[in-house]
Symmetry: C2
Subunit: 359 residues, 2 copies
């Protein structure tokens, strides 16, 4: 029995037959659905003017503003899905972690989590249901406007949250986090368990409030050896995904540079695997055994290429995606901040024109 | 007919039968040879005291200092090869490019190369034979001390040099360089051709002065899609490698995150392929068709793990390397600056004890 509220879009059919939800369920329709990671915010002038003078995390926690930013790219580009405007460190902030987004740098923690004592202190913090109220309100306001277009909720995966917590900020190779998993496996397990439950609570609140699908972003999982992923990380992502599985919303799992661990990411409990531009969708599908829907994977660097180059790259991605049972077109990573929004609109039109069955 | 001088170690047999050179030639001996990328410098206290008050690029251009830094890890760890202490931007500096290494940040250019006019100006710069004199002197002094231990020369691959030139400094996704190859393919080709010739001149000078092997570092090639690598990058690496092929020294090609393009990197003209920790050596060998010697690939994050964990990881790498005709043990990336040097010494002993034939 699903625990979705009776008005949830997946139950009342508002989004259940949308191209996105059908593709996420493995059905190939007449059109390939398309959306863009980081489509909300960043490159849009209407976003920049709305955000003026408002700190990143504050904008995520203002329900009206988060909802408006989420809707902007849907109106402008005609994409097949909205992705909720938020940040993967938001659930950390809502649990009481001292974290701020420093412009041009990324999330920076007041105090990195490096020792067993740090982890024990962290585990005293809990993500209370009432703390998630701004998220629920933002989702509800968004869904009310979206009609039959599905909203995708998201959360950072436990490893990516843990990497931020251990490093204290963005880092290149996440060596600190990857060292801790070997040097202090008990603390690592405790940290990952806490992070998994925070991820799950954030994602669950979004789906219950009206999101039709969920994406777990393991941004940094690509820095791991396949052995470390399998031994010290996969179980925690599985824990987060299992905690929302009863809701029945399709779940996507994505990370950059994860070509070697695509099957392991699927096996953590995802319905759909997102692929970056380093691995062709054909090769990704081969590694996934050919029966898993895929999402991706245009190289963001191509967004500034002349249209004929970009056009043929988009068509090549669509062709490569035919190897999977179904395909949701996306970039292989987030929209770069200096992207010309008109290019994204043109890609949406091209993907829709190219069709799905016949691509 | 080889153009090596008559005293070259490959000809007089001083290093031709060393475990490293034999493994690079595809022969599996009784011991697996081992060295570490970035073993020269960084983590060694004797290096830090020598470098005190000397800027990075100045230390590379001081023959006595570069030679001493190159020799330090050979003395300390008993590794099977020295790697010449230098920097991939050194040939740019010697050609007259305004580049400096900013501590904690990396190479920073006075003026990024972004337009056709920038590329044209760059191409007026040439790497004169006399500019390479400090390199030749450093190599000669090193080889005189090394005896039968081979010295590996190296150069940055054209794409990695081009990425620095276009970005003006280190960057995350090298989007500027990857955009230029599509937006302005003519300038890109000119830039890559120039960079290939600079790479080749730097590597050639090192081999002629006494290096027994050469490694082309394409540090950032892993940010490319397989299509872009094949279309816009591979030819330039092939040009650089072809320009030293007549010397007969074994050539290694390495980049981080290059699991999807290992065969393409080999096909650029390399004898040996370096593999990072994301791809097992077994899978890498499968992708390489099983007949290419491999080098790698212990995850540097494991260097801070407790010895039993590290020990079993080293043995697992040795086992995985059995899938290739021969294997040179290394890390999957450079030695992290805060590594305990004693751990490296202990790994060398373990690799040597574990044997080669019987590993």
């Amino acid at each position: 029995m699903s625990t979705l509220p009776q008005t949830h879009p997946l139950l009342d059919g508002r989004t259940a037959s949308s191209p996105l939800v059908r593709a996420y369920r493995g059905e190939r329709g007449s059109t390939t659905p398309v959306w863009f990671m980081r489509q909300a915010g960043r490159s849009l002038p209407e976003y920049r003017s709305l955000r003026e003078g408002v700190a990143m995390l504050d904008s995520c926690l203002d329900p009206a503003m988060a909802s408006e930013i989420t809707l902007q790219p849907v109106r402008r580009h005609g994409v097949d899905a909205a992705i909720f405007f938020s940040d993967i460190v938001i659930p950390l902030r809502l649990a009481g972690v001292d974290v701020e987004i420093v412009p041009g740098r990324g999330p920076v923690l007041g105090r990195p989590v490096r020792t067993a004592a740090d982890v024990a202190r962290l585990r005293e913090l809990t993500l209370e249901p009432e703390a998630l109220e701004p998220i629920r309100q933002g989702i509800a306001a968004t869904v009310a406007e979206l009609g039959s277009t599905p909203l995708i909720g998201f959360a950072g995966a436990p490893f990516t949250l843990a990497a931020y917590l251990v490093e204290g900020g963005p880092s290149k190779d996440h060596l600190g986090a990857r060292a801790m998993m070997h040097a202090d496996p008990d603390s690592w397990r405790d940290l990952m368990e806490w992070a998994a439950d925070i991820s799950a609570a954030f994602l669950r609140a979004q789906i219950l409030a009206g999101a039709s699908a969920g994406q777990l972003f393991d941004s940094w999982a690509g820095s791991l050896s396949p052995t470390d992923y399998g031994t010290s990380v996969q179980w925690a992502s599985a824990r987060a995904l299992a905690a929302v599985a009863d809701l029945g919303a399709p779940l996507v799992h994505f990370g950059v540079g994860t070509g070697e661990i695509l099957a392991a990411m699927r096996d953590a409990g995802a319905d759909v695997v997102g692929v970056d531009w380093r691995t062709t969708l054909e090769e990704a599908s081969r590694r996934l055994g050919g029966d898993t829907p895929v999402q991706g994977n245009l190289d963001p660097a191509l967004l500034s290429a002349p249209w004929p180059v970009l056009e043929s790259a988009v068509l090549a991605v669509l062709k490569s995606g035919r190897a999977a049972p179904s395909h949701v077109f996306n970039l292989g990573h987030g929209v770069p901040p200096d992207t010309d929004p008109d290019v994204l609109t043109r890609i949406v039109a091209l993907v829709h024109e190219a069709g799905g069955d016949s691509a």
